[in-house]
């Protein structure tokens, strides 16, 4: 009996491991990594140290980055740090060992990534800070969207639609520099209105790890606290907006209260089409990834960068070269002319939950 049980368990383990080995296989075929270089032509080799693939948007970054590398006939090696600084540091070491010509880093932690920059620069490898700004004056380029502008645009939109009333502010993770920048910008836009008393901020909170369920609980509690008298919830990303809208739905308030977002995730676009979420910020990913690849090639070839502007870093007060791309406000009125037109989202996906007769014409 005992032996048969052991055999059974071992068999199950074997099955389990087979399943495990099976799954990553599918993944690699998916990511379509280029074959490792034995290339006689000595292709340029770009290392891209990513932080996470947990959110849809980073998957898009990865896909776009790979596609553009392929198109421009350069090799790229991509690592993913699973939201861990120490793994990212190891990844960067490994990329440098593999002899990349240029390094693109989407840092997990802006400050800890500075030591990675030091290391790369010591080996003469130029570094691009991708999407998130690394806390180092030595980076060769910062490629991103206009982050301060995102916070500003969200707050301005809210202020324009709801010039008076009770506001709830749902910020991102306080460990994320972008969340802090957005918070500062939002507050500065709303300052005149809060000073005059037109707007009252009745609750404000940084949400640990941008968790939707934490945002849900926060807004549930804010609604209780204020007896449902809330006119706008200024949310810093779409994931949390989902949680916020669940809280509003429970009180029959979805669609009646302004809810903002960021990232233009598919589910957020669906909610905008249904009228439950008011707006989101669309950051075209493909131009960002393309710009990064093109700039990386220029740096590897030691050519001058086109379109780079000096960007003043808050932390050191020094300038770093930067390419900052435009962001777009998306609401119910311009879904068709922005995300759908760009091929960022499919028409049938966005309007999946809207009855056919109420959909706009394609």
């Amino acid at each position: 009996m005992k032996n048969s049980m052991k055999v059974f368990v071992l068999l199950m383990c074997a099955l389990f491991f087979m399943a495990c080995v099976g799954a990553p296989n599918e993944q690699t075929s998916n990511s379509g990594k280029p074959p490792t270089a034995n290339d006689p032509n000595k292709k340029i080799k770009i290392g891209f140290a990513m932080d996470t693939l947990k959110e849809e948007r980073w998957v898009r970054d990865k896909d776009a980055f790979e596609a553009h590398c392929k198109q421009l006939n350069v090799e790229c090696v991509i690592t993913v740090a699973d939201n861990k600084s120490e793994k990212q540091a190891n990844d960067v070491d490994n990329l440098l060992t593999q002899g990349v010509n240029v390094l693109v880093i989407a840092p997990h932690d802006a400050t800890q990534a500075a030591s990675m920059v030091e290391k790369a620069k010591a080996q003469g490898v130029p570094v691009i800070s991708y999407d998130r700004l690394i806390n180092s004056d030595k980076i060769d380029l910062y490629v991103s969207h206009q982050v301060p502008v995102i916070g500003r645009k969200i707050a301005e939109y809210a202020l324009q639609k709801v010039p008076k009333g009770n506001y709830v502010m749902v910020y991102g993770a306080s460990t994320d520099n972008n969340a802090v920048i957005m918070q500062k910008e939002q507050i500065s836009v709303l300052k005149a209105a809060t000073d005059s008393g037109d707007i009252k901020i009745v609750a404000n909170q940084f949400i640990t790890d941008w968790k939707p369920e934490e945002a849900l609980k926060m807004v549930e509690n804010a609604l209780t606290q204020n007896n449902d008298k809330i006119d706008a919830v200024v949310v810093s990303n779409d994931g949390m907006a989902g949680g916020v809208i669940s809280a509003l739905e429970k009180r029959g308030l979805a669609g009646k209260v302004l809810v903002t977002g960021q990232d233009a995730q598919k589910e957020a676009l669906q909610r905008i089409a249904q009228g439950k979420q008011t707006m989101t910020i669309y950051k075209p990913i493909i131009p960002l990834a393309n710009k990064a690849v093109e700039a990386a090639i220029s740096l590897a070839k030691k050519e001058p960068l086109t379109g780079a502007q000096p960007f003043r870093k808050d932390t050191s007060g020094k300038d770093v070269p930067a390419i900052l791309l435009e962001v777009v406000v998306v609401d119910k009125d311009n879904l068709m002319t922005t995300v759908i037109k760009d091929g960022f989202a499919k028409f049938e996906d966005v309007y999946a939950n809207v009855p056919a007769d109420q959909r706009p014409k394609q």
């Binding site: 790890d209 939707p212 609980k217 509690n221 739905e249």
Partner: protein, 390 residues
């Protein structure tokens, strides 16, 4: 380990108040909860103890509470499960994929989530029990592996749930009159159990208590049931997740107190060798308890997904620690052999009360974390100090 013998043998030490130590612990915890509630009620300007907020509070307890019930049984058996958060994410993700992407319908999607939990529980349980890999290691591996699996199957996308029936598992309320019917049934059950215990005592002549005392004892639970339904109905009715939590807690109470399986768990956690030598199949029981936690995690994942309205690839991160903390605050010992379902649920409620109250007070995120961490350590410290005195 010697402290656990009290439980295995079923006779506890009495203290100066002439109460069993576990009963005293329960009263202390209820007292602590009352203090927390009164403080928050005062600090929030009389908002905390309104029916509406209490309804929210119970809702916010439900997922952690269900996980804590399963975790308690694991901890009592001297094991640990660190993979709960990842399994919650995976089961929820699979339910959402079955439901939204594959259109399998509601019941199959829910069953899929529970099945995923059970299968993972069986895998981890058998690795622990039959291959003697410590549960800490098996489930630490699980924490990573299952999270990876969620990211893989969802392709790191958040999968929305649009259907109102699915969402109702997280967001709806039971109509007030049905709430009262359930309350009536619960009261009947309590009274029935009291009569049964009187009868048993007469038959076996074990207890010296008289029947009137036994009936008076039912007044407390009856009062609690009526009060609870009254407060919930004063807002919108009992939230469905809370009803599920109550059902799970009752089931857990029944298993731990009235089944051989449940008693075996205490015996195994108290002294594994003694349990084995007295003829208990330790390995099979450990496998079973992991499968049970898996099933409960599957149920919790449905509520979690329905409440947020989507399945995110990072859903449930750190939930295992919430569940473990709830058990420990509720008086469970990580050495095994000690802990009650009631304590674990109360622990979950205390944690949720702190979250809810601090959120109402708009306490900054970093302070919330510091306070929760300190209270966790303080609760166990007090518990230990209390035990020493006995």
């Amino acid at each position: 380990m010697s402290e656990n013998k009290d439980f295995v043998l079923g006779e506890e030490k009495k203290n100066t108040f002439n109460l069993q130590t576990s009963t005293l612990r329960a009263y202390t915890m209820i007292g602590a909860l009352a203090l927390i509630w009164i403080y928050f009620h005062w600090a929030t300007g009389s908002i905390f103890l309104t029916p509406r907020n209490l309804s929210n509070l119970m809702l916010q307890t439900s997922v952690t509470g269900i996980l804590a019930v399963g975790m308690l049984m694991i901890i009592v058996a001297g094991q640990i499960d660190l993979s709960v958060g990842s399994v919650l994410g995976l089961a929820g993700g699979i339910a959402a994929i079955c439901f939204t992407n594959l259109d399998y319908g509601l019941a199959p999607s829910i069953l899929a989530a529970i099945a995923v939990g059970v299968v993972i529980g069986i895998i981890q349980g058998s690795l622990t029990a039959y291959l003697n890999i410590p549960a800490f290691i098996v489930t630490l591996g699980g924490l990573l592996a299952w999270r990876g699996a969620v990211k893989g199957i969802t392709r790191s996308e958040t999968i929305p749930i649009a259907d109102p029936t699915f969402k109702s598992f997280g967001q709806s309320y039971i109509p007030p009159n049905i709430g009262w019917i359930l309350a009536a049934l619960a009261i009947l059950f309590v009274v029935f159990m009291a009569f049964k215990s009187i009868k048993a005592q007469k038959k076996f002549g074990s207890g010296g208590t008289n029947p009137t005392n036994e009936l008076l004892k039912t007044l407390l639970p009856i009062g609690a049931i009526v009060g609870f339904i009254y407060v919930m109905n004063a807002y919108a009715g009992v939230p469905i997740p809370v009803l599920i939590l109550l059902a799970v807690a009752l089931l857990g109470y029944f298993i731990t107190n009235h089944t051989t399986f449940g008693r075996y768990l205490y015996a195994i956690g108290g002294n594994a060798d003694a349990a084995r030598l007295s003829g208990i199949n330790n390995k099979l029981n450990i496998l079973k308890v992991f499968a049970l936690l898996g099933a409960l995690t599957g149920i919790a994942s449905i509520i979690f997904t329905a409440r947020v309205g989507s399945a995110a690839p990072d859903a449930g991160t750190l939930k295992e620690l919430d569940a473990i903390a709830a058990c420990v605050i509720g008086g469970a010992s990580l050495m095994g052999g000690r802990g009650t379902i009631f304590g674990a649920c109360l622990g979950a409620l205390i944690m949720a009360s702190l979250d809810n109250g601090m959120s109402l007070l708009n306490v900054r995120d970093f302070m919330q974390e510091i306070i929760k961490g300190s209270i966790l350590v303080a609760a166990v410290g007090l518990d230990m100090a209390g035990k020493k005195q006995n």
